[in-house]
Symmetry: C3
């Protein structure tokens, strides 16, 4: 952690663009959550079948952001703004068609390197 999973209805973009999205999203998580870039993971899933607001033909994204440590309303507000901008800019998604789920975890509920952070 921190970790971000981005599911988009858009078809796969170029490798360069994929790397840019990874890099921009990870930089935001690292900066806002004050965690080293070395611990940030990001996952992109293209071509998802997503319907939203009675419509499935427009670019739509569903994002999950996970962290060890409390995510306050102030933090989720900033993350929502900045991550939505990345999606909008790189994939042409209308911000009104972007949902983000936030979850925080206790240290023993996150595994890494065959152990946990407890």
């Amino acid at each position: 952690m921190p970790l971000i999973i981005i599911k988009t209805s858009e078809p796969e973009v170029s490798t360069d663009r994929v790397e840019q999205i990874h890099e921009q999203a990870e930089t935001i998580l690292s900066s806002v959550l004050k965690k080293s870039r070395d611990y940030v993971m990001s996952i992109l899933e293209f071509d998802q079948k997503i319907s939203f607001a009675l419509e499935s033909g427009s670019p739509t994204a569903y994002i999950e952001i996970k962290n060890i440590g409390i995510l306050t309303p102030e933090i989720t507000e900033i993350l929502s703004k900045e991550i939505t901008a990345v999606i909008s800019k790189n994939l042409g998604t209308n911000p009104e068609r972007v949902y983000i789920e936030f979850q925080h975890f206790e240290r023993h509920m996150w595994g890494w390197n065959g152990s946990t952070f407890a």
Copy 2:
């Protein structure tokens, strides 16, 4: 939110059938949770490699349902019944091979339109 993600071991079905599953699932969430259809998102993932009860050859589904606001035992009971029926009817899945995870969220833990619902 509400949001539903349906992962099925079944191969992709026709576009018409995909739209029917979206429509039926979203109608149930909207109706049971008393939220506008305009805020319901549904995601379908086909061809998933799923093993359950020591067996991976039969149609199997794993579903996640997420909502802002408490999901009581009464509500999850109704949603499990109605959503499982949609999967069973449209994809031929035995209800005994359907799992549903329910999660509820505080308002600041859900982002939309570059902000949150806080």
Copy 3:
């Protein structure tokens, strides 16, 4: 439940190897969590676009483990060790590039067979 979802950056492996990963992961969950194998579900997702620690070219995995009933620090420690070993052995993934998210659920927050475990 218990349920495990394994997302790996590695390309799809042979059907035999897929079955082995299912079997090994399910055996561990059943044994450590003391639940019947009949109720364990496992899902494998290959070819995921994952970036971690500023790098997207090495085998990387993100895993979710879900259970009804409390997951103590002792349990998550054991599961992290054993499940990471399965990933490392079968997919050649460095344990330092494996994250595992753990979540536990109340009985009414898990649906099965058109009902819940409440």
